[in-house]
Amino acid sequence: MSVAKPLPHDAAALHVTGQARYVDDIPAPAGTLHLAFGLSGVARGRIVSMDLAPVRAAPGVVAVLTAEDLARDADTSPSAHDEPLLAKGEVFFEGQALFLVIATSHHAARHAAAKARVGIDAMPPILTVDEALAADSRFEDGPRIYGKGDAPAALATAPRRLQGRFDLGGQEHFYLEGQAAMVWPQEGGDMMVFSSTQHPTEIQHKVAHALGLPMHAVRVECRRMGGGFGGKESQGNALAIACAVAAQATGRPCKMRYDRDDDMRITGKRHDFRIEYDVGFDDTGRVTAVSFHHYARCGWSMDLSLPVADRAMLHADNAYDLAHVRIESHRLKTNTASATAFRGFGGPQGMVGIERVMDHVAHTLGMDPAEVRRRNYYPSAAAVAKGAEAGTTPYGMAVTDFELHDMTARLLETCDYAARKAAIADWNAANPVIKRGIAFSPVKFGISFTLTHLNQAGALVHVYQDGSIHLNHGGTEMGQGLFQKIAQVAASRFGVPMDMVKITATDTAKVPNTSATAASSGSDLNGMAVKAACDTIRDRMAEHLAERYQTTPDAVRFEGGEVIVGEARMSFADAAKSAWMARVSLSATGFYKTPKLEWDRIRGTGRPFFYFAYGCAVTEVAIDTLTGENRILRADILHDCGASLNPALDLGQIEGAYVQGAGWLTTEELVWDDTGRLRTHAPSTYKIPACSDRPDIFNVTLWDGQNREDTIYRSKAVGEPPFMLGISAWLALSDAVAACGPAYPALNAPATAEEVWRGLQRVRHGL
């Protein structure tokens, strides 16, 4: 059976030879036009003049469109219809699209766009949390509040209590393939769209709306993305819509890709948060009550900010059974690019909040932070299975599958945590300049879209008369290996080798009404939908063969590339041909919807998640106390993928997610100046981890468990959960800084060299 085998990525051979085609690599038809946006250089203001004559006169320009030139109200928002494709009189962030240049080449369009003379009557932008609160600039009427118990009362009577506040930066996706789209006009006004998108149905929906067409007139295809990470859930809408509008206007194929600097200016990033906490605890390290205030900078439009901020609240407990909790979440509207989905979707921000609390409590008590965490864990799944009462999340969901007690014990033992912690203390006592730190952090991440209706998926499978299989489903491939995992499911259901299964591009004409490939849901949802489709065909074939061989369908077995019916054996190809000759349909759709979900996001109660995925990490770092410079020396990870569909791909997801998470909290700093301009808009100024930043020692192991819920082959989702293992790197830096003085380091994130240095001043001098 193909499932559970560590097979390479489905397109690996194409990737290593440079043959894999991304949107910008698809050969464009002759006469294809290229687009570029003219961008606002002002963060907030009213457009008073727009002289585009120099743009129109530039070489290669075919047309220039403004909002007034659009026949319909083209909008790029995935939620609130509050993002005009081109600014309508007002601008709301630096980098907002004002006009659209259509030219004969990518460079001609970009060069022409720079020639516009735009007059904007600038207003003071709302940029910071404080400015937004002062102006009451927010989404929704007021803060959302979730909780359980009575946190204020429990805090008032807590044996010990402390408060803190920190800033938690955002994150640029830095998908290595920038946003890109191409649209080919078809007969009768139909549109064929190629888009680098995690959400082809959303592209279809938004393009159809912008053109005034029914969705059936628009077909969207995506074979692969060069990285997504959430940044292609909604941020590709503008390019696809622009191409479609231009294709409709000119009748020619149109193509658009953002230059990297433009991409980083225009597109949304991970939400940055300010988090305030107030925690009550006892002398044993047990937290008795905690209250959080989340302040999220959402940018100029709503985009996906509400569910992102919700998910942050839903992970404010992380792995801890908290009796009294209150979480108050403010979604602030600022004159910055609209913050959007990014791996973890708010979960990481919520989790950093409680991990900071645990770290602060442990420091205050002089206890081992790993031990404080364990004392606050939810009851284990094993204990619950034996009748112990399950812990309940702040949103009222019982935690019945909690794996972290055993996982923590295993990881702390295999990474030699206690001995290394003692050795680090010895090192720090003997070395005045280079200090080391070590930290453990756990992850409990909820799996399912919190918008319950999104938890559905479709598939389309054909078996041809030669036995070859055409596989299609609604999920998109962005490097995570989804297509290969799903092909393994299909091959396993038919009992055929992998080369019998053709993986095909995601296509809204084959599987409609799909959800974004997001929320780590890709293999859970599409795996089950494909299984259903395959089983339908397999059952039809079995029924046919049972009739032919005078037996019952359950006597027909599909294995090893053969079909076995009693004493008879035939190749899968012969079985398919036999079914075809007998006029049996060899094509089927499959559908799946996640069971057991029930969620009220206003009241903040219910079961938003089908299950939880777990993981834990120990990171060791060294810092230079003279400069704040630092590096990760070693990382040890134990992560729960249930019964892995593909251990090679899952390990790759875990390693990459950890490094990306550590990058978020250490080196990746977004800087806006006082006018609202993003000053870190290229890899020259925005520092994602490089090959030389990878931990010297990097041990990653899969937990050998099974999903306790009935998922595809009892596997667990893996896309987002391991991202938050990177929190251990931030905590390890805090531990190293704490070795330099009595005060708590109170690091902000990202803990860049500068922030580590500031932390050193705090612990040494109380600054």
Binding site: G226, G227, F229
Partner: protein, 159 residues
């Protein structure tokens, strides 16, 4: 502005093209010659996705003008395999699952091949620092390093 006539060699084949004076080698490869294996990740020489070699030297093709290729020997990812036979680095990247979205992979392979041509027996640290100019957002780099080290070992044995 008149175009420039360039005669060069790409992956061993003689090639001629006309390009604009300001056109980069990357744009020539991708848009004029259909060699789309080299990718534009940043356009400023910081990400390495467009890595090729020019007269044996590793360069970012987004920082080289098409006109500069006159008389040069250019090698791109498309020339790394010999027919159906993959280069050991290519094979090891598949074996070690050293890629995910794959868009950085061509540049990293070109850079790694250049390393092994200069230094057939690099330490892990040398490999890591040589590849520090090639960004990958997916893998976390661990499997990339393992694949490069494994390929280097195999190539030493074979030579």
């Amino acid at each position: 502005m008149s175009r420039i006539h360039v005669t060069t060699t790409i992956n061993g084949d003689p090639v001629e093209y006309l390009c604009d004076p300001e056109e980069t080698l990357l744009d020539v490869l991708r848009d004029r010659l259909g060699l789309t294996g080299s990718k534009e990740g940043c356009g400023t020489g910081d990400c390495g996705a467009c890595s090729v070699t020019m007269n044996g030297r590793l360069v970012c093709s987004c920082l080289v003008l098409g006109a500069e290729a006159e008389g040069a020997q250019i090698a791109t990812i498309e020339g790394m395999a010999k027919g159906e036979t993959l280069h050991p680095l290519q094979r090891k990247f598949i074996e070690h699952a050293a890629l995910q979205c794959g868009i950085c992979t061509p540049g990293i392979l070109v850079a790694a091949k250049s390393l092994l041509e200069r230094n057939p027996d690099p330490t892990e640290e040398e490999a890591r620092y040589w590849l520090a100019g090639n960004l990958c957002r997916c893998t976390g780099y661990d499997k990339i390093i393992r694949a490069v080290m494994d390929a280097a070992a195999e190539m030493r044995e074979a030579s």
